[in-house]
């Protein structure tokens, strides 16, 4: 599909989302959808660095939490409006990505991954010791009483997340189809060869890390309003790390569609599981499914579907 067609679809989706808020009263669906869309952003962001470039980030929670805490600080200090929160969160998380990339991307991919693990722990320690955001005691963020245009704040959060998800997908689509994407994939396939052919590997890797980090931070920007009481353990939760990794692996890492598929499937399944069966079990299932996919179906669902269609055609 061409870029124009996709843009039309995106605009239509936004219209549908807004229309839905006029019609559907039941807040539960907005909360559930919010979480799923949040994962669409996280999975897409992860995939830019993981699927396109081949560098595994285990610390998605760190970037997400940085975005959330940046937003919390902006709210507390300036009472900043949502668009500013998104921009601020993206900037800070992006800088974080740039920083960690600069420190470790000149080494092997494995070191980058280990550093991301370390990052999450160090950041959590720092936040826990920072009195201004309440440290371990957490920070309360009261939602504004007056909501423009929507019936309540939750619907606003839902639409905001729809916009953010579409933005993330658009970013991934653009990267995939541009020279940036081609360079990243060359790096993934054989970094030395790419370097020899003149691909500016370090610059591209830094770009990918920054964009990926920024998008994860953006996903965290509305979090303080969503939860109203935020403390480090929930912001840095391991769920975010495992899910933002599992969703692209399950959906497929080579295109922008993969993370979307993975996020919707896995996210929905988890939401359903929360209100039906035991929830600790569902985490175990995620782990098993990820390992199964990585061993048996490394191209994810998109890859499987593609192969089926390829066979059908042949």
């Amino acid at each position: 599909m061409s870029g124009r067609a996709l843009l039309a679809v995106a605009v239509a989706l936004v219209a549908v989302a807004v229309g839905l808020t006029r019609v559907l009263e039941n807040q539960y669906y907005y909360f559930a959808a919010y979480v799923i869309l949040q994962y669409v952003v996280l999975a897409t962001a992860w995939n830019i660095l993981g699927g396109y470039t081949g560098y595994v980030n285990f610390g998605s929670a760190a970037f997400f939490a940085m975005g959330a805490y940046t937003a919390a600080v902006l709210i507390k200090a300036f009472g900043a409006p949502l668009p500013l929160l998104v921009v601020g969160a993206g900037l800070v998380a992006g800088l974080l990505g740039l920083g960690i990339g600069y420190l470790t991307l000149r080494l092997r991919g494995a070191f980058f991954s280990i550093a991301t693990l370390a990052l999450a722990v160090v950041l959590q320690t720092l936040i826990v010791n920072w009195r201004y955001v309440g440290g371990a005691r957490g920070i309360y963020t009261i939602r504004p009483a007056q909501v423009p245009f929507f019936a309540n704040y939750v619907e606003l959060l839902f639409v905001v997340m729809v916009l953010l998800a579409l933005g993330a997908l658009a970013t991934a689509w653009w990267i995939e189809h541009s020279w940036v994407g081609r360079g990243l994939m060359a790096i993934r396939d054989n970094e030395e060869a790419a370097e020899c052919m003149g691909v500016p590997t370090l610059k591209l890797k830094l770009l990918a890390t920054t964009v990926s980090g920024a998008l994860m931070g953006v996903a965290g920007a509305p979090f303080p309003y969503y939860l109203t009481y935020m403390e480090p353990t929930s912001a840095f939760n391991l769920d975010y790390a495992i899910n933002s990794l599992a969703m692209p692996m399950i959906g497929g890492t080579t295109t922008w569609v993969g993370p979307l598929v993975g996020a919707v499937l896995l996210g929905t399944a988890q939401q359903v599981a929360t209100v039906t069966i035991s929830s600790a079990l569902n985490l175990l299932i995620v782990g098993v499914v990820v390992v199964a996919f990585v061993i048996l179906a490394p191209e994810g669902i998109v890859g499987l579907v593609r192969r089926k269609l390829g066979k059908a055609r042949a």
């Binding site: 081949g54 160090v122 175990l284």
Partner: protein, 290 residues
């Protein structure tokens, strides 16, 4: 409040704990340093070993160290199996960077959540006659709880070092990390040697786990703190060097102990990770690296 006695106690405690850290890191030194397998699931195996010791201790009254030793063959087989899967799925295809990492991350997760479902979040500990007693050597207090694991860890380190430098298979392991072809020409199969080495690495997790649960209570997510620690030690010590691992472990142990007592325990965990980031940025080859 500063006093010489306190400082001495803190440093000694740091050395003892550092010795224990060496036991945990040996597996990474072998797997990552020598075989180039980024096994981030190693701490999870250590926790598995700890629970193994817990079950043996609470159900059958076995001494934890004995339990750890008895668990070694089981863990050896487990390690060989994991390596087989890893090799056929990733290493052979040349895909090990992305997918291998994700594979081990998934394994960590599966182990942790399975233990969680089975045993819950409660902390578990072992009962042994000598835990809780302290022996005084002059001005220094040596708690058995720390001293015995340290001694066992040192024994393990020395044993592994002797194995790698004196036996045929040990030297083959060292060789395989440097030159596949030469090894083949010598008549040994590189894959078998690597599987052996990895299995040994996982076997050490059994003992390390038993020591861990002697030092303090354990619950499934404790492994996460150790991921950063062991890689910090492996990197700081120079990948693949047993002596380097020991030195790095002691350094880390003392630094953590000092930070924890004088600056507050909040920062102790950040120390290991901070060191890791610092070393990676400044001197990735580590202290004793090649």
């Amino acid at each position: 409040m500063f006093s010489f006695d306190l400082l001495l106690d803190v440093v000694v405690a740091g050395i003892l704990v550092g010795g224990f850290y060496a036991a945990v890191s040996l597996g990474i030194t072998v797997a990552f340093g020598l075989l180039d397998v980024v096994n981030i699931a190693h701490p999870a195996f250590v926790i598995l070993g700890a629970y193994g010791a817990y079950v043996a201790n609470s159900r059958f009254g076995l001494d934890p160290i004995l339990a750890g030793l008895l668990g070694m063959p089981v863990f050896f087989l487990l390690g060989a199996l994991v390596y087989r899967v890893y090799y056929t799925s990733f290493e052979k295809r040349g895909d090990e960077s992305l997918r291998g990492l994700v594979f081990f991350f998934g394994i960590t997760f599966i182990i942790e959540v399975s233990l969680l479902l089975q045993y819950g979040v409660d902390y578990r500990s072992v009962e042994a006659a000598y835990v809780g007693e302290t022996i005084a050597l002059g001005p220094i207090d040596l708690p058995f709880r720390l001293a015995i694991p340290c001694a066992v860890a040192l024994a393990l380190t020395v044993t592994l070092h002797l194995f790698l430098s004196r036996t045929f298979y040990g030297r083959a392991v060292k060789a395989v990390s440097q030159d596949h072809l030469a090894l083949r020409l010598m008549g040994a199969s590189p894959v078998r040697i690597k599987a052996l080495a990895f299995a040994i690495a996982i076997a050490t997790a059994s003992i390390a786990g038993a020591l861990l649960i002697m030092i303090g209570p354990v619950e499934p997510s404790v492994g996460r703190e150790y991921i950063g620690r062991v890689f910090a030690i492996a990197v700081l010590g120079g990948m693949g060097s047993i002596g380097g691992t020991l030195a790095a472990s002691l350094i880390l142990g003392v630094l953590e102990s000092l930070t924890s007592t004088f600056y507050g325990p909040s920062w102790a965990l950040a120390v290991s990770f901070g060191i890791l980031l610092l070393v990676l940025a400044v001197r990735p080859a580590g202290l004793f690296g090649r």
